[in-house]
Symmetry: C2
Subunit: 310 residues, 2 copies
């Protein structure tokens, strides 16, 4: 995997040049301290394991924790009313190990309980703010193909939250890495430009919004929005991977660079690790259930083969 080399001009828009330089040194120093955790899948309680991980050493935490579940026997069956107090000691460790310019992405969705949406995710979001996190953004994962089903008073649930939390306002973000093709409208729209298009036009509604269409000529890509429209993965082998590899991959590309250190404290079958392997990031996977590690290693071995072949 080749390193991207010197930062190109576009990325300097995102944060200050000096910070960029300091980041590189910082990354290398920390990797020295975290060697024993690099690209490991550890079995255990993430709260305890993370105590050995140094402060400010992780670039991105992206995870999909076990959702609250009143059924006792399932993996991670934490009752909804206990979810917040179960989660907060772990997120305290997350806050400690995350770099100041790092990001924490929490993929979660509240369940229906007694005909109501349970408020534990709202409570958790508010409590995480009290713990010191900034609630920077809420992305929506809009699922292309949802589980079929019909209920008398409810439609299929086709979305999940991806809550973004940060330690500081100056988190790193590489927007150019997730640009998408421009819509078909542009072909017709930009073919002929009017006079107002060529000079800057200002809206007369007082919104302060102006545009200069001429700047768009030749543009093939645009920035995405905060809604991700992805399919769930289905028909795969043994694991019941609830989220598609594109979901962590998107956040990994957006918030990290090649060689950065990504943590998934509820790793499950290792979807986040697969994304890291494909993108050349280092990872630390942790899960309390011992059974998933084998599945994750099996999946990762296929990834390695693919990489070698290409």
């Amino acid at each position: 995997m080749e390193y991207a080399g010197a930062a190109d001009a576009a990325h300097l828009n995102n944060y200050k040049f000096m910070e960029q330089l300091l980041l590189s040194e910082d990354t290398m120093a920390k990797h020295g301290q975290t060697d024993e955790f690099i690209n490991q899948y550890l079995i255990g309680d993430c709260e305890k394991i993370l105590r050995s991980v140094p402060d400010n050493s992780v670039d991105l935490i992206v995870t999909s924790p076990p959702y609250a579940d009143s059924r006792k026997n399932t993996y991670g069956g934490i009752p909804p009313e206990k979810y917040v107090s179960w989660f907060l000691p772990k997120s305290k460790e997350f806050l400690r190990v995350l770099k100041p310019n790092g990001t924490f992405i929490l993929n979660i969705k509240e369940r229906v309980e007694g005909g109501e949406r349970h408020p534990y995710v709202l409570d958790l979001t508010l409590e995480l703010r009290k713990q010191g996190w900034l609630w920077t953004e809420e992305f929506i994962w809009h699922k292309k193909n949802t589980h079929p089903g019909k209920w008398p008073n409810r439609f299929r649930d086709a979305w999940e939250r991806c809550l973004q939390f940060n330690k500081t306002k100056n988190f790193k973000m590489f927007q150019d890495e997730v640009m998408i093709p421009i819509g078909d409208w542009s072909k017709a729209r930009l073919r002929n430009l009017s006079k107002t298009d060529l000079s800057r036009a200002t809206s007369n509604s007082g919104s302060g919004f102006g545009k200069k269409i001429a700047n768009w000529i030749g543009k093939t890509k645009v920035y995405p929005s905060n809604v991700l429209y992805l399919a769930t993965e289905c028909g795969n082998q043994n694991h019941s991977a609830v989220f598609p590899v594109e979901l962590p991959a998107w956040f990994i590309r957006l918030f990290t660079r090649n060689g950065d250190f990504v943590l998934d404290p509820f790793a499950g079958s290792g979807t986040t690790a697969v994304a890291c392997r494909r993108l050349g990031r280092n990872y630390l996977m942790i899960d309390i259930a011992p059974g998933y590690k084998k599945i994750a290693e099996e999946r990762l071995s296929h990834e390695t083969n693919k990489t070698n072949r290409s």
Copy 2:
């Protein structure tokens, strides 16, 4: 306006037959009591005006209140930190006037303040539960065309919440009224949903029962999910309608029948009233700003003309 008459079998799936019968009587009785409010646009504070509206008289409340705003001079400029205490006395009246089997749909989205999403919507949701509401569901309005813009640490905001609250678990819901063609869904990544489907559905609802059944080609329709993919309305000179008429129309079809009584306590330019007119529902519009009533009446007059012409 024709009344739909006897309920067809499909709708009996949604709630019990006895309740259906009681509903009809109840609707008629209450309409007797609320005659003075039928199809009115009243100027004033909804909290005060609603005190004259009888208990349990409204079938659906669908509204998009002014969002919190830190700027002082704009209309509806409620500071985020005061939003909950501003809203709760009003929602207490909503709870009183809503029928036990009615629904309250709240379209809202938190703003960014100081680089963070402000938590007032989360606080409000939790407080509404304490007030006695059931938080039944959260629909997502995924906006096709979002406001443009670029920031170093944030993408364009392409979604809003449509929170569903109820008084009881036995709310009425007519799922068959919002079914969508299966072909368009799979073929075009949700793209063709709004225009063809909704205009077809609208004309169907306006023109009576038999025609609609004729258009139903059996298995070609499928139930939607809890994500609505609609465009904002733009390019209209006279009014700046913040939400598209399809949004309230969708909830009106889902939660009410012909002749039911719909309340929008923050009516603005009357988008909800337009949807009611098209679908043959009665409405009560309230807004504290006097300027919008004229715009709403202008829009409604066009609706009337269209109806007469067809």
